[in-house]
Symmetry: C2
Amino acid sequence: MRKKNSPLIETIAVGSELLTPYYQDTNSLYITSQLNDLGLKVRFKTIVGDDHASLLSCFKLALKRADLIFIIGGLGPTSDDMTREVFAEASGRELEFRNDLLDYIKSRFQRRGLIMTSSNKKQAFVIKGSEVIENKVGTAPGLWIEDSGITAVLLPGPPIELKTLFESGVMPRMEKYRKGFNARKVLKITGITESSTETLLSDLYPKSPEIELSVLAYPGQIEVHITGHSFSSLENAESMIDPLVNSLKGRLKNHLFSENNEELEEVIGKLLLKNNYTLSTAESCTGGLLGHRITNIPGSSKYFLQGVQVYSNQAKTKLLNIDEDVINQHGAVSASVAELMAEGIRKISESDFGLAITGIAGPEGGTKEKPVGLVFTALSWNNGTKVEKNVFVGMRVSVKSQATQKAMDMLRRQILFKNTKQRKDIL
Amino acid sequence: MRKKNSPLIETIAVGSELLTPYYQDTNSLYITSQLNDLGLKVRFKTIVGDDHASLLSCFKLALKRADLIFIIGGLGPTSDDMTREVFAEASGRELEFRNDLLDYIKSRFQRRGLIMTSSNKKQAFVIKGSEVIENKVGTAPGLWIEDSGITAVLLPGPPIELKTLFESGVMPRMEKYRKGFNARKVLKITGITESSTETLLSDLYPKSPEIELSVLAYPGQIEVHITGHSFSSLENAESMIDPLVNSLKGRLKNHLFSENNEELEEVIGKLLLKNNYTLSTAESCTGGLLGHRITNIPGSSKYFLQGVQVYSNQAKTKLLNIDEDVINQHGAVSASVAELMAEGIRKISESDFGLAITGIAGPEGGTKEKPVGLVFTALSWNNGTKVEKNVFVGMRVSVKSQATQKAMDMLRRQILFKNTKQRKDIL
């Protein structure tokens, strides 16, 4: 047995489709996340096709260099699937037929009114000396093979089967490998750039190797991940990161919109619901993305009344009663039109808030004065309207996405802090 | 030198972040696609962190088992980046400092008005005996090391640098490994299930190993990929798959919406533009996703006039003049309301086509008569209105996505074939 205290872990994803340009091995991300929670890290990730020679060499190598091996996929009923057979060969073991497994597989087919094909019989073979890990959502059981301090776990490839089986059957067996407990916290922020975030937080980067801080940037959103690792308990891990989390929150202030892994549309949904407010939207360049995001939240019909996508100028005047002269004077992409859009949709819909977006998503349509990425976002409520001028960088879809993020953030800040910028500030 | 005619290829993605739950190695998909075009396949994909021992063992292993090794990442200026140094060690070579590279790196900084940090000096070191592959979009050059029939290529990790460098500097050098020419074709279809597609095409699966056919299914869309491989020329590869492509098109008929890798919103955009038609939309359960997809296409303002997201019943009556009695009698999710929505938005906007969606996206709101996933899609034009009743399977976001796909497909079929089902067929 090698290095008992920190097992060398390798994942092997099996499948010729994973060696094409079309498929990613996403299962190993899930397994990595689960192992991290036990204080364990993955050292090697291997991806290999369904051919005998390649599988055999990968399995033999893993048995030589790793203490814990997770082999994912290739347990299905077709002739391509040979993980079970080749791993038996690599580890010098035999296969044995298990009647109880065959009965279980048969019963799964019967329950769905189907007849088991003869090819499924293959899945009733197990590697001698292995523990069977029950698969409650598929026909391929997992296998746990432990010998001389090396453990190999054979897992089915379909993600839903893998996750269900891993949680119920693998994690309990993994307790003996636990090196500690991980506490994780994700702070989601918006309204501040990645570099400003880095500068703001630069002196808070933890010195201790037990605490990790990483900043991940997406268009219009930044996530600050904090991980704490304790040898003794989850509570201990949590209390290790608490001071850092609190310092971070003190720095991030109103930019922080979620510490519970929510999307911004979820956050504003909860705020609207809690305060019994209603919302309507008027979109130009985003074309419906704002409404789409808001209505991705189940139950959004309780607060989202309606939206309009006023792409043409005629729609702006007819649907929202915007004076044609204002459009002619300031242009459809202007603070004035954004303001009138927000006010217009609020009045028409009789909702508490009206949220509006007009801008130039690109790639065409930009000028020197009004470049691609210029977007005005506006929020109207019963005694005020605010407009913000933004210049977003990126492709059309990214500009649309950032614009909706900004609009929703204006609403969030107004409800929570009443502190979005005044219109006169930006004109 | 091993097996000259079919080199064993391994990709090694380097980076500790690739061993966390947050990052995928996407670079290898790009490389795989490029290699496939040369008639080459990847045999092993390895992912390894930035630690000396792991890197060294992976590199040594690859030098032993592979003929062509692509090592991606770890060429940056920080102390974490050690691909160059460790590969030199693994292959028994020395590093040498290249003044010309330092000058180039310095000039890149100068052009951007920045001063080069001393850590970037590291990037001017190359492995002795290697060819430098110029990096036009970053500071880390690529390295091509060829010895005794084994070739290793060191490549920068940032995807834009990798792609630019691979195309300009690696592909030309790869010509001598070319095993042939690949012709690829993707047929995109909608309006038919995956299993129906499989049945429809089952007898067309090619017998020859030079032609590959694969069917990839997404919610509301299926892609049929055809790859032909010829030893002599691209033209030959194309003419090899032509008969199959034609047979497939004959079977797929009107379900085929693109053979040029377009999205459905792009296809209907072109059809509208070509025929000088305009379109407006009325959405309930999709909340704006239809308008969002349509306006993702640059230039869509030429044919998309406006949309409304009539989430509340009040919005349906007020914005679209739908009789309250119809909503009360049939319900907001009904063929009658879908029909009136499509007609209403077409009249209000004075557009040629009105497209409408009303349904139950879930997870709440379903009943026995009207289950979650029930969606009515309707299309109205100057002398007719058609409605289709759909029951989509999946989560809220997937139901929304399938609904927009179906609505756009009704428009496509109407313009091209005038053959969507009549309203009376489905009531």
